[in-house]
């Protein structure tokens, strides 16, 4: 039995003037998938991600999340479906405490008491309890990324969209992030945009490779890494 399709893009295209960043992409994501999007710089994966999250309105095509036509909708409408989103550069409430950041996410979906409990639980789970009263702008880059992941977790979303969750992290942090993502995957469907191949190897079931705005190949990590075209794209030359 096939699992339900939860995200689907139909001929999704995004043009910036004459530049075609995303070119007629048809993509499907099934329930409980952990799907990685990879590709070299400028392949269009981040633009694709922004179309999914409502930060950009696609030039053509549609994004369907469950039954909701998401193309051209506002980010809050998409997040309002129960989607947890982490952007590429950490997007946080810099003047507020770690605790407040996570609480604001939990409180969006839960009543006051449950939100408090979820915040405490999330901070413990991510080992951020000691930092809970620190203001965001006093933290290191890796810690900031980690708090943002905490914000995603605390909302208990059913669909999670992560754009480069490990950027700027140390090796240990990357390993912990991989563990966390697998944990999230037990309850939620995920799309992870990354270009750290080591990290993808730790988590990925299914990988989609973007190249020049289009999908080059979609398969398991093993098949993808042995694919001749993927090597060409990544290494930039033909192997003899």
């Amino acid at each position: 039995m096939k699992r339900e399709v939860v995200v689907e893009t139909r001929n999704l295209s995004m043009h910036f003037g004459g530049v075609v960043a995303v070119d007629r992409v048809n993509f499907t994501l099934r329930e409980n998938d952990l799907h990685c999007l990879i590709g070299p710089n400028g392949a269009g994966k981040s633009t694709f991600f922004k179309c999914l999250t409502g930060q950009l309105t696609p030039t053509e095509g549609d994004v369907v999340i469950r039954d909701f036509h998401a193309a051209g909708r506002h980010p809050h409408q998409i997040a309002g479906l129960g989607v947890g989103i982490k952007t590429q550069t950490p997007n946080l409430f810099n003047g507020l405490s770690v605790d407040e950041n996570v609480w604001l996410s939990a409180r969006r979906w839960h009543d006051a008491r449950r939100a408090r409990a979820l915040t405490t639980e999330t901070l413990e789970r991510l080992k951020l309890t000691d930092l809970r009263h620190s203001q965001m702008d006093q933290l290191s880059h890796g810690q900031r990324q980690w708090v943002e992941l905490g914000m995603v977790v605390a909302a208990e979303p059913w669909l999670v969209l992560l754009d480069e969750p490990t950027a700027g992290m140390t090796h240990d942090e990357v390993v912990r992030t991989a563990e966390l993502i697998r944990e999230i995957n037990q309850r939620a469907t995920l799309i992870v945009v990354e270009h750290d191949m080591q990290f993808i190897r730790m988590i990925a079931e299914k990988v989609t490779v973007f190249h020049q705005g289009a999908i080059l190949i979609e398969d398991t990590m093993d098949v993808v890494t042995h694919d001749q075209r993927v090597r060409e794209v990544y290494l930039g030359h033909r192997q003899q």
Binding site: H76, A79, E100
Partner: protein, 360 residues
Amino acid sequence: MRMSLENRWRIAIGIFGVLFLFLAPQVFELFTIINLTTAIALAVLALSLGLVWGYGGILCFGQVGFFGLGAYAYTIAAINFGDTTGAIFVAILVGAVAAGVLGYFMIYGRVSDVYLAVITLTFTLILYSLLRRTSGPEYKIGDALLGGFNGITSPPLNIPGDISNTLFPEDVFYVAMLVLILAYFGCIWLTRTHFGRVVVAIRENELRAELLGYDIRRYKLAVFMIGGGLAGLAGVLFANGIGRVTPDMFNLYNAALTIIWVIVGGRGTLIGPIMGSFGMFYLTFFLGTQTVINNNLVLGVILIIFVLVVPNGLVPEAGRLWRTASNRRSTSRRERKMRRRTARSTARNGDSSSEAPRET
């Protein structure tokens, strides 16, 4: 549970406010009390901008627009109704609705910060020139003649339901001070609710708030309307303090002054704008009594000094100094304790500790 420093301060402010409410009319002369009522009205106006700008992150350059509209609405409604009680609510409503309509186009139209400031300023300046041109018997709303640049005489507040029983200036002072205290604590309460915390979050990062699923436009519009309503209420107090409403309430000078109060007092606090408005009001008052220097020149210099030297405003700066000082105090206390302990243990161990580091 130990109370935070912030809460202790707020309670102290509350106690001071209540004491002032009861004692001021006993101590001061009538003239000072009437002046104080006006200053309090302006403090409520400053508080409304402190909420909208300091917490909501919306730089509204035309907060006096809602303030003036509130004052006019109160006066016109009071003249027509006879009773002033309903007129107070009309004033609050007019302030909030005006902010709602203007805010809807700006916030839902995603106008950027700078243009929002320009639009709100233009809004109040339009009202200023419009109302200046209303002299003549044809400009009237019900029984109230708008009166052009002379404005309208405002009826003083009366006991609810008893039109003949109007309040004396001392009583108006009580009402104004009570409104200020309630508005201050109301704003504190608001900033602690889920709504208030989301508003602050939006100020910090709009995109992040959206990505958490909050419709930021609704929150911003709501806080803008609350600010408009509060400014309208300030207008009621002002009309009672001065006894008259004029188009000058809407002018550029007052629009700029409101911003200055908040800058001087401190953005992101609620007591800051209140103190800023009181301080500046009495400074202007004092400067008005002398003829040596032009008082606008002095005010301008003060503003420049604040923007350059104390950009965060008085209250946040004082808070920072206090924290640094108390940290230093507790550190030195801890150090003294440590030194005493080391001294004691050295004495107990005799010479052995001094020999220990030596290597043979």
